[in-house]
């Protein structure tokens, strides 16, 4: 397993946090996700055989938020 912290821009409240945690949290290979509104980031524990920092960041972008690999 591997852990990554991704930058997330565009969230304004707890419901934004929730929708990202819900959607990304159910992707294959995602073990755990914690999104912080204050720190504008997402910390994800994942299985490298299914996900990568790039694929996770891409998935957040797909949802309409801006995501960066370097926090």
């Amino acid at each position: 397993l591997s852990s990554v912290s991704l930058g997330v821009e565009g969230m304004t409240c707890g419901s934004c946090v929730q929708s990202i945690e819900q959607r990304i949290g159910t992707l294959p290979g995602v073990i755990h996700i914690k999104v912080s509104l204050e720190q504008k980031n997402a910390t994800v524990l994942f299985d490298q055989s299914h996900q990568s920092p790039e694929s996770l960041s891409e998935a957040i972008e797909e949802m309409g938020f801006e995501s960066s690999l370097s926090v």
Binding site: G10, M11, T12, C13, S15, C16, S19, I20, Q22, R23, E62, M63, G64, F65, E66
Partner: protein, 84 residues
């Protein structure tokens, strides 16, 4: 001086697409911002968002199923209300 437009210019107007109305369960500026970014990525759509009424109007040649799936990417419930 002849000011008549050449005939070939007659049909260069913007194509009119139907305006589709969708209800998207947006609750905050984060949601409407996400919907905006998602739709902007499509490139060829004109749209308006009414956050208080949770409505999104889209003018596009894309079909309703495609637009519905696209809107669903934001993680919110999406309902199609028809054309306006």
């Amino acid at each position: 001086m002849d000011l008549r437009l050449p005939a070939k210019n007659t049909f260069t107007g913007v194509f009119e697409f139907k305006k589709h109305e969708f209800e998207v369960a947006m609750t905050c500026e984060g949601c409407s911002g996400a919907v905006t970014r998602i739709l902007n990525k499509l490139g060829d759509v004109k749209f308006e968002i009414d956050l208080p009424n949770k409505l999104v109007w889209i003018e596009s040649d894309k079909d309703v199923d495609f637009l519905t799936e696209t809107l669903k990417k934001c993680g919110k419930d999406v309902k199609y209300n028809g054309t306006k």
